[in-house]
């Protein structure tokens, strides 16, 4: 059987003008490539040879550090709320200025920490905190060591 006969039997069709547009596209591209093949961009001399990346130091965050981070977030929040509660619960006197020192003293000596914590945290949050087994005095010392009252007031 001749090739001509085989071709005639192939049942496939192509879209109208497929081959014409195929050649047209091809020649347009070739024509373009004959005119321009490169972008014209260049680099400073030796740039690519000397290129290097300052590799970021891999900081492995351990689980305990992650927990501490999470915990310090809680503590900062608690401290901020404590201060706000204190400010709103203090009787207002005209022109009376509260020194930061008296604010700290009040927080340390007068406020019932456990009651305040239970007021501002949900049971789930308290349970979450309780798994760390931190005492209130530890929380308190953490706040005093890690957060300044000025910063917390600003926050």
């Amino acid at each position: 059987m001749s090739l001509n006969k085989i071709y005639k039997k192939i049942p496939f069709k192509v879209p109208k003008d497929y081959f014409e547009s195929f050649y047209a596209d091809f020649f347009i591209e070739q024509e373009l490539k004959n005119k321009v093949q490169k972008t014209g961009f260049k680099t400073p001399e030796g740039y690519l040879n000397n290129f290097n990346v300052s590799i970021p130091k891999t900081s492995k965050v351990t689980n305990s550090r992650k927990l501490n981070k999470k915990y310090s977030f809680y503590l900062s929040g608690i401290a901020a709320v404590l201060i706000l509660l204190f400010m709103f619960s203090m009787p207002k006197k005209d022109n009376e200025k509260i020194s930061l020192e008296s604010l700290e003293n009040y927080l340390l000596n007068e406020v019932d920490q456990s009651e305040l914590l239970s007021n501002i945290l949900t049971m789930d949050e308290l349970n979450d905190l309780s798994m760390f087994n931190f005492s209130y005095s530890e929380i308190e010392s953490f706040i005093l060591q890690n957060a300044s009252v000025e910063t917390l007031l600003i926050d």
Binding site: D25, I28, E29, E31, L32, K33, K35, V36, K38, T39, G40, F41, K42, T43, P44, Y47, L48, F51, N52, V53, S54, I55, P56, T58
Partner: protein, 180 residues
């Protein structure tokens, strides 16, 4: 030359990661640079984006699961980094992306790191007229001869759509060059 699988496994172990990463940079910096440069136009911007790209590759190599080729994955990061860079530059300068593009082309005339002739400058202007996806496809196909199959992974678009984009882009560029 180390094969890709071996390099990849070295990149995933802390002991060999840094050395393997240096090999990775050496192997791909040039291709990635030119890919980025064609998108952001200026050398300084390309340098910034190339740095960001490699830092991102380094940070995310553990997440690369080997579903695609390493180079297509890196090209995808480079493309996304370039586009993000241009968008934030436009926001920072309080101009549209089109204006940013026009400014970049204007600067090209006096750019010491562009030594193209008149037709090359015209071609860059013609490419800049195209929609972003057509620009990407044209640059990747015309200058870098990247296979549609790989391009499809990089740009997350079907091969058919990419072929169509390329042919439309070529025709538009031809028309632009005739008209200007």
């Amino acid at each position: 030359m180390q094969n890709e699988a071996k390099l990849l496994s070295q990149l995933k172990f802390d002991d060999s990661k840094e050395l393997a990463f240096k090999t990775l940079i050496k192997r791909y910096k040039e291709n990635l640079y030119w890919h980025i440069r064609k998108i952001v136009i200026s050398h300084d911007d390309a340098d910034d984006v190339l740095q960001n790209t490699f830092v991102k590759v380094f940070k995310n190599i553990d997440k690369f699961n080997g579903d695609s080729k390493l180079y297509t994955w890196m090209y995808r990061i480079a493309t996304n980094e370039s586009i993000t860079f241009l968008n934030s530059k436009a926001r920072r300068n309080k101009v549209s992306n089109e204006t940013l593009n026009e400014n970049a082309l204007q600067n090209l005339v006096t750019d010491v790191y562009f030594d193209g002739d008149e037709i090359q400058l015209k071609l860059q202007k013609a490419i800049a007229q195209l929609p972003r996806i057509q620009q990407l496809v044209f640059n990747m196909r015309y200058f870098d001869n990247i296979k549609y199959r790989d391009m499809s992974v990089i740009l997350e678009t079907s091969e058919g759509a990419l072929k169509a984009s390329y042919h439309i882009a070529v025709k538009k560029i031809k028309t632009y060059l005739i008209d200007h």
